[in-house]
């Protein structure tokens, strides 16, 4: 997953730079390895680097009334691949998710992903860069993705693949222009403050095309097969965002309620693992009447530990992030709620710390089903032999992590909490069933 955004302001006197930078900050949770922001106006300039938005974009000296940006969780081999990257000499693109195949193009496995896209686009466009060509090119792409592209005529197209795996929303900026971004929280941070839902969902298979004198919706596909990523609701998206018009916060609370229904246990206190699992824990507590407590305090910068690429970094993140507040747990029976379990070692670390601080019992509840398989659309899931949920039962996991009991949310429970039909969701990482692309 990647956080992408495009800002299109009609009046050329605007500089979209700071809007882009703060907008990317609102998407930082979607990727913390690289940052890229390209500005289009009289000239065209890209600022990109490794690190967080704060570090990479702290001195922004580029100008332009249009911008295209991305934050990504993937380390890059070559700096030019930091998204948004050049699709051709004339076109830049930011993609969230994965294009898995392209009509009339044979994937060349000796090339990097970006190089394959470039090669395919070169064949498709024959050197052209018209906005219609660009739009048609993405129609011919298959997979689970959302994209935003800008050409050399300062025109922008932004759309979602027909499966709708990855989210995308359109926000407005008064009479001045539009904002397209992975999540609606961007509109709250840099858009116009309108007291109703600040953004409109971009429907799967649709794209928005901006030119200097038009902004219009175009439909690329009549396919009604959907595969909305369920992991967006569990973990990826920010709780103040809407994904497919569904408020993430509402889903996270429903998950907490479902956990209380499915695997209730008598205890003295409910504690959520920050940040994602806090709304789960709040709803679990409301539902059961067991009081909720703040169990952890953070040291240093807030980073998303599960996204760190190597094991040591992840543990470092967890230990700094999660210092247990002893008085919240000492002598108590604790229901500890987390969003997901991948390898189980960070969870084991937390349970260990909590027992060390005097927790009498620890009952772990997980706000998602077991992760047993990979994601073909870019969410980084480790190799299958590393996934604890694929190999061990709930009882065994409890023993491994040192908890008194351990329960996942059921697959049905998750589907019901999201509120969409099961056939509209991609639950591949939980059940190995993937949409046909």
């Amino acid at each position: 997953m990647t956080g992408i955004l495009g800002i299109y302001l009609f009046d050329e006197r605007w500089n979209a730079g700071s809007f882009g930078a703060y907008g990317l900050m609102a998407l930082q949770h979607r990727g913390q390895e690289t940052v890229g922001l390209e500005l289009f106006g009289k000239n065209r300039r890209k600022i990109a680097g490794e690190g967080l938005v704060d570090d990479v974009l702290n001195k922004l000296d580029a100008e332009g009334h249009i911008c295209l940006g991305a934050v990504s969780p993937y380390p890059v081999e070559v700096k030019e691949d930091i998204p948004p990257f050049m699709l051709s000499e004339k076109v830049s693109v930011a993609i969230d998710g994965r294009v898995t195949s392209i009509e009339n193009y044979t994937w060349d496995n000796s090339l990097r992903y970006e190089e394959n896209l470039r090669k395919a686009f070169e064949r498709f466009s024959k050197g052209g860069s018209d906005i219609d060509i660009l739009k048609e090119f993405f129609y011919s792409c298959r997979g689970g993705f959302a994209y935003i592209a800008v050409n050399d005529k300062n025109e922008m197209v932004a759309g979602r693949g027909s499966l709708g795996v990855k989210p995308l929303a359109l926000g407005k900026f008064g009479f001045e222009g539009g904002i397209i971004a992975s999540e609606t929280c961007v509109m709250d941070v840099v858009g116009e403050r309108v007291p109703i839902s600040p953004a409109e969902n971009v429907e799967p298979g649709w794209a928005m095309v901006f030119t200097s004198f038009s902004a219009k919706w175009v439909k690329s596909s009549n396919s009604c097969k959907r595969a909305y990523c369920s992991f967006e609701y569990v973990y990826l998206a920010r709780p103040d965002s809407y994904v497919n018009d569904i408020p993430i916060y509402r889903v996270r609370r429903s998950i907490g309620r479902k956990l209380a229904e499915e695997s209730r246990v008598d205890a003295d206190v409910v504690i959520g693992v920050p940040e994602t699992a806090i709304p789960f824990a709040m709803a679990y507590s409301n539902e059961t009447g067991i009081p909720i407590e703040k169990g952890f305090e953070l040291t240093g910068r807030r980073v998303r530990s599960a996204l760190r690429p190597d094991q040591l970094e992840r543990l470092k993140g967890v230990q700094l992030k999660l210092n247990v507040i002893s008085d919240a747990v000492r002598g108590k029976r604790v229901i500890l709620i987390d969003d997901s379990v991948v390898r189980g070692n960070t969870l084991a670390n937390i349970v260990y710390l909590m027992k060390e601080k005097g927790a009498k019992e620890i009952h772990v509840r997980i706000g998602s089903p077991h992760i047993i398989s990979h994601c073909p659309f870019g969410v980084e899931v480790p190799p299958e032999d590393e996934l604890i949920g694929r190999h061990l039962s709930e009882e065994k996991i409890a023993e491994v992590v040192g908890a008194d009991s351990f329960k996942y949310l059921s697959l049905n429970g998750l589907v019901e909490a999201i509120g969409l039909k099961e056939e509209e969701l991609c639950l591949g990482c939980f059940n190995c069933v993937y949409p046909e692309v």
Binding site: R13, N15, G17, K172, G174, I196, F213, S214, A215
Partner: protein, 492 residues
């Protein structure tokens, strides 16, 4: 009976149609710069004449009225009012439906309008500042970071307004820069050539809420409201893009109901009453101020805000375009009768009635409108004319070819029991026009859709909840600010 119509846009085509329906069967004459193909047909059918000329020039209009020997003149747009056309006609004893120069000040000078509203303490008054020069306004913009509407102090064809929401401190510098650039262009570009006013720049507080236009007939004694209409100012679907003269409008009943037999509405009846009272007070105030009678149309371009409830954004001294289409389509009373009762100041003696139907108007414009009108101009037009299609900015040349005028080309009217149904009818009509040279046309497909109506109602409810709270607390319209080190400041 003979009537001279001044102006040649979509609004005037709708007015011409309303006269065409009249049982008095008036012969219709028209004076405008471009030959509107729709008005031209009605003029020809009723045995009138089309004078091509400057509708803003008093002498041209006066001579046309004399030549035609009309019973009265009907002014469509605002600029002829500002230029004193009704005054000139009055001098020559030709009755006129149109605000005279002095009372039309409530539209022409947005600054005087606010002065008047504050002087007479009329509700729904926004906080504002006016400036004579760019240099005078700069220190103000430098010092205060506020969400504002930056406006030319004069009505300049609906252009030049920029609304900048300035809440996020981290984006303040960029916004300040654009604010300054924009007031500079208000001073140097938009107000260029308008020497009829001292004040050039107006800065008003920015407010949010659903907008609506409350158009009224007035003879100076009585103010008779028409159904409230909601215009859509953004150029593109989903309320996106630059401000236009209006890309379409909706109405149903007096208070913007969802449908004829439906309880859902954007406004309450009480809010309509309050809005009408505000417009009536404005008419009274301007007459008192100028000592002159207001004969014609007056409209509050209003917003239901959280600060005030019904609030004046701007005033019109004429019917709105395209809002005129919505109200004239459901006007049951004979327009000639209304005009005569305005002229004789007996508007209170007749009953003005409207049919309760939902109306939706969608404008179709050539690409380039509104920011690059030169690109939008001069394209040959092919239209499959049908009931409900109104000609707007189009010119019928002598060789019979119709060309785009650079603004909205046609306006399509749908009438039904509910707004979403009327929207579908209007939507079908938008496909009746194309440009023979292949240049693109655009319109908004979302106007009057269920989704857009729902959003407007939601917005109205949110504004209503806050202004009702203010009403209960007795602080409606008041801004109470604690200035650290200085104390309590109260505005409003």
């Amino acid at each position: 009976m003979k009537v001279l119509l001044v102006g040649g846009g979509g609004r005037e085509h709708a007015i011409a149609k309303a006269f065409y329906r009249s049982s008095y069967e008036p012969r219709l004459f028209c004076v405008s710069e471009l030959v509107n193909p729709g008005i031209n047909r009605i003029v020809k059918e009723t045995g009138g004449e089309y004078y091509v000329g400057n509708p803003n020039d008093p002498e041209t209009v006066f001579q046309a009225a004399l030549k035609a020997g009309v019973d009265f003149v009907f002014v469509g747009p605002e600029e002829p009012n500002f230029r004193g056309i009704p005054d000139e006609l009055e001098k020559g004893d030709i009755p006129c439906i149109g605000a005279n120069k002095d009372v039309a000040e409530i539209e022409m000078s947005k600054a005087s309008m606010r002065d008047l509203q504050w002087k007479y303490m009329i509700p729904g008054r926004l906080w504002y500042k006016k400036f004579r020069t760019f240099e005078e306004a700069v220190p103000y913009v430098e010092e205060y970071a506020e969400s504002v509407a930056l406006k030319p102090a004069r009505q300049v064809g609906g252009k030049g307004v920029k609304v900048i929401e300035d809440f996020q401190v981290y984006l303040r510098d960029d916004k300040k820069k654009v604010k300054k650039q924009h007031i500079e262009s208000i001073y140097k570009d938009y107000m260029k050539g308008y020497e009829d006013m001292d004040f050039k720049i107006l800065i008003e507080e920015r407010v949010w809420g659903p907008e609506y236009t409350l158009q009224c007939f007035t003879d100076g004694r009585t103010v008779v409201p028409m159904p409230a209409v909601q215009d859509n100012k953004h150029a593109f679907d989903g309320d996106l893009g630059p401000e236009t003269g209006g890309m379409g409008s909706i109405a149903c009943g007096m208070n913007l109901k969802w449908g004829v037999d439906d309880d859902r509405a954007i406004l309450t009846e009480e809010e309509i009453k309050k809005s009408t009272e505000i417009v009536r007070m404005m008419v009274e105030a301007i007459q008192k101020e100028t000592g002159r009678k207001y004969h014609g149309f007056v409209a509050g371009q209003m917003m239901l805000t959280s600060v005030w409830g019904p609030t004046i954004i701007e005033m019109y001294s004429r019917l709105g375009d395209p809002e005129a289409l919505n109200v004239l389509a459901v006007l049951k009373t004979d327009l000639v009768e209304i005009c005569e009762s305005i002229i004789s100041e007996k508007l209170n003696s007749i009953k003005v009635e409207f049919e309760e139907r939902a109306t939706v108007v969608k404008a179709v414009s050539p690409e380039g409108y509104p920011l690059s009108r030169d690109l939008a101009k001069g394209h040959p037009v092919v239209v499959d004319e049908q009931e409900g299609v109104f000609w707007a900015s189009a010119h019928l040349k002598e060789d019979g070819v119709i060309e785009t005028g650079g603004s909205r080309l046609i306006e399509c009217l749908g009438i039904a029991d509910t707004i979403p149904e009327a929207s579908l009818i209007a939507e079908r009509l938008t496909s009746k026009a194309r440009l023979a040279d292949g240049w693109g046309l655009f319109h908004r497909s979302d106007i009057g859709s269920e989704k857009s109506l729902e959003r407007r109602m939601m917005l109205a409810n949110m504004a209503r909840e806050i202004y009702k709270y203010r009403e209960r607390k007795g602080i409606l319209g008041k801004r109470i600010i604690w200035v650290p080190g200085k104390g309590l400041e109260e505005v409003g």
